[in-house]
Amino acid sequence: MAEVKQTNDNKEIYKTGQGEQNMGSTDEKQYVAFELAHEEYAVDILSVREIIRRTDITRVPKAPPFVKGVINLRGTIIPVIDSHLRFKLHPEEITDNSRIVVFNMDDITIGMTVDYVTEVLRLSEDQIEKQHSVNSIDNLFIKGIGKVEDRLLIILNLEKVLDLGTQQAKE
């Protein structure tokens, strides 16, 4: 748990003064949950900048394959990661529910395609279990598994997911 704890602490410092946090008990955090290929994933809400509809994505030749391209986010050009390729899932089908989640990591803004944003929920530390290797995603990308009633949420390690230097999930 030590590693998870540490990153959480960093977030706290990073976002102090936003007033969003600490509405429930102290170890409870808010997560944005979304669906990818019918599995549920969750990311710390503090790293999410906004959620936008799918727009035209301009392909960038010679970029890593899981970089879907770049979009124009109100004048700023940001890269977008294809989560299906990143996590080695089936190719995505674009529906009305398809969204791009825009993350702020340190001073980098980066987007990621998702199939469906489900909800914002609260998870306390004891609801999260650190787990190795789930499905096809390498454990590098996973921080833990969140349990809410009978649902299981894969909590992503965004630093690794969004780091283009990190290789795709291992075979």
Binding site: P61, V67, G75, I77
Partner: protein, 679 residues
């Protein structure tokens, strides 16, 4: 107190002061009689001392303090200027520069030139410093110390402007009074007393001149007495009583001046008298203004120092506005609305103005770059034993800030080359019946959307045959190739990596890392370089740079569904292409364009563009990569447009063939092709 937030400001300002230091020293070396230059140098040293002491950089403060002492003696003519002093002052500036450099790198500044302090001290005492190592043969020239301190006769010299002022005053029936006051030794705040003297004198007349300058008096830079010249219609007694009313101040001498002695000066800067008025008007805010205007006093503009990042932000916002304006226009085109039409036209005008204003804000005079060259040329010429007359032209030419920052080093290289290899030594020149002094001309001018910078010397020029031979020796060309190459092609070889024609490697150039670096740097700035040379007459390097890096003219091209932008600077021409025109030569697709074979590169292939729509007609964009021409095959030419260059962000930098991205009028992103790395 946390000083970090002031650090940038400090570094920037000290760079400016050191720059002005260098310039003024050079000027002074040329005209040692100009005391006003000494004043300015003194002020620069003083401000630097103050700033560095505030920031806690003791070593800098120490050096500047010693310089200040020496300069003060020079100013009051207690010591005469000589070559040793100049060398020592130049070295001090170098030392200060290297210390600020250390600060920039996050180190604590250390004085590397340990003898410097001793030398400054010795010089200040009027002795020539003899370094323990060096054998100085120069004679001591310290017998001219003037005892001005005790000299109560008021021998104040006026320049032409002051003289005019005084004459007018006389015509109006006013009296000119030269006053010498001294302030009691016990007085703690001499500056305040001096200020009171000034204030009282202003109440009854006008101060024309002071000795030392007002600035120095306010900074308490005088021993205990100072002189003033005022014009007043009041009687002698009034002046006396006004001065007597200030405690701790005694009137040493009061003289009515009838005849004016005029000091000859070619100085075109505002005279002291005007300065005084200005300084007085500014009262307490004076000191601040001083730091801002110091070194370029002839143009007092109100300026604000702005982080370049904020300007970039502003620029991108304006870019965004332009994009949205285009969208509005598109909406208007599809649904006619009279009211909307007018509004859009207005917006159009405003955004265009806004864009040019923002662009202008980013523009900086090339002066900034040019100014560092006189000093360098002086030193280099001395080292190499050459005589160089450096001519700078078009200093006021403006360039985008980002270009300015990058262009300094390449130019430096060209100048060094010109002095080291281009210009002959004085003996050689004499033998060739040329003027002993070689001419090095550096000029800048605008030409359309470009700036042309030329580095020209009247030296020995480049021997084309020698280059040809060298190219063959080094394996750049075969003998047969060399025979077929035209003159310009051969000349351009000197821009190739590893090609240096210097017979011996000097410290300055000839290490084979010269012109190729210059060329690649200029190319990364979207610029071009070429040279013209005439053996025996000289060489001229011409650098052509775009005005700005943020907005460029580009040709939008379409391949399948994707649109790419190609910078216009890279494009030679465009032409249409039909399938039957494509020929194969050794597996390479080519076309014949006006009798020349042009290799073709299909954008669709090299960028792996998806889609397989067949095109009956295609277009070829002829681009230039160095000396090589290549035809880029695209499906459609969309049109020429001004585009704002955006980076792809940290995560996607360094992709081959992609220089950045730009948002098009419809909000979509188009990638900008980087011809240099595309194929």
């Amino acid at each position: 107190m946390d000083m970090n937030q002031y650090l940038d400001l400090f570094l920037e300002e000290s760079a400016e002061h050191l720059q002005s230091f260098n310039e003024k020293l050079l000027e002074l070396e040329a005209n040692p009689d100009r005391l006003d230059l000494l004043d300015e140098i003194f002020r620069a040293a003083h401000t630097l001392k103050g700033m560095s002491a505030t920031m806690g950089y003791e070593s800098i403060a120490q050096v500047t303090h010693k310089m200040e002492n020496l300069l003060d003696k020079l100013r009051s003519r207690k010591i005469d200027l000589n070559a040793n002093i100049f060398n020592c002052l130049f070295r001090s500036v170098d030392a200060l520069e290297s210390m600020t450099e250390m600060i920039k790198e996050g180190q604590n500044p250390q004085l590397e030139d340990e003898e410097l302090i001793n030398e400054l001290l010795a010089l200040e005492k009027g002795e020539n410093y003899v370094s323990p190592k060096a054998k100085s043969e120069e004679k001591i020239e310290n017998d001219k110390i003037e005892e001005k301190e005790e000299d109560y006769s008021l021998n104040i010299q006026f320049n032409e402007y002051e003289e005019r002022l005084l004459k007018t005053a006389q015509e109006k029936g006013m009296q000119i009074w030269a006053i010498k006051v001294s302030i009691a030794d016990s007085c703690l705040m001499k500056g305040v007393r001096a200020f009171m003297v000034f204030r009282n004198m202003e109440s009854i007349g006008e101060i024309i001149k002071s000795d030392p300058s007002v600035q120095d008096i306010e900074d308490e830079k005088f021993d205990k007495s100072f002189g003033l010249v005022i014009v007043s219609s009041h009687h002698e007694n009034v002046i006396k009583s006004k001065l007597d009313s200030i405690s701790e101040v005694t009137l040493e001498a009061l003289e009515n001046i009838k005849e004016l002695t005029v000091e000859k000066t070619e100085d075109e800067e505002p005279s002291k008298a005007e300065e005084i008025k200005q300084d007085k008007a500014n009262g307490a805010g004076q000191k601040k203004q001083d730091t801002m205007t110091n070194g370029k006093k002839h143009q007092v503009h109100q300026t604000v120092r702005v982080d370049i990042g904020r300007l970039d932000k502003l620029m991108s916002l304006v870019g965004e506005l332009v994009i949205n304006k285009t969208r509005l226009e598109q909406i208007n085109a599809s649904q006619e609305m009279t009211g909307l039409n007018e509004t859009i036209e207005q917006i159009n005008r405003i955004t265009t103005d806004l864009q040019s204003v923002v662009q202008n804000v980013r523009m900086v005079g090339i002066e900034q770059v040019f100014n560092r060259f006189p000093r360098m040329v002086r030193d280099l010429a001395k080292d190499l034993g050459k005589k160089v007359n450096l001519i700078l032209e078009g200093k006021e030419t403006e360039l985008d800030r980002t270009v300015i920052d990058e262009i300094g080093d390449p130019l430096l290289h060209l100048i060094r080359n010109a002095i080291d290899h281009g210009l002959e030594s004085p003996d050689e020149r004499l033998a060739l019946q040329k003027n002993v002094e070689g001419v090095l001309k550096l000029s800048a001018k605008h030409e359309g959307n470009h700036v042309i910078i030329e580095v020209e010397d009247d030296g020995k020029g480049i021997n084309v045959e020698k280059i040809k031979q060298k190219a063959i020796d080094k394996g750049f060309l075969t003998v047969a190739q060399a025979e077929n190459c035209d003159r310009q092609t051969i000349l351009n070889l000197i821009f190739e990596p590893g090609f240096s024609t210097a017979k011996k490697v000097t410290d300055v150039s000839g290490r084979g890392v010269g012109l190729d670096v210059v060329k690649s740097k200029i190319q990364t700035l979207n610029g071009q370089i070429h040279l013209e040379t005439q053996e025996g007459e000289g060489t001229r390097f011409v650098v052509k740079l775009p005005l700005t890096l943020a907005i460029i003219q580009a040709l939008l091209v379409k391949t399948q569904a994707e649109i790419y932008a190609i910078p216009l600077g890279n494009i030679d021409e465009t032409t249409s292409l039909e399938h039957q025109q494509i020929k194969n030569v050794q597996g390479q697709q080519v076309m014949v364009l006006r009798g020349k074979v042009l290799p073709l590169v299909f954008i669709k292939d090299i960028l792996a563009v998806p889609g397989d729509k067949e095109q009956k007609e295609m277009y070829v964009v002829v681009v230039r990569k160095g000396e090589q021409q290549i035809g880029l095959v695209v499906d459609e030419l969309v049109g020429q447009q001004e585009i704002v260059i955006n980076s792809l962000g940290k995560l996607l930098t360094g992709l081959p063939g992609i220089a950045g991205a730009s948002v098009l009028g419809d909000g979509r992103v188009s990638l900008i092709l980087d011809i240099g790395t595309l194929f």
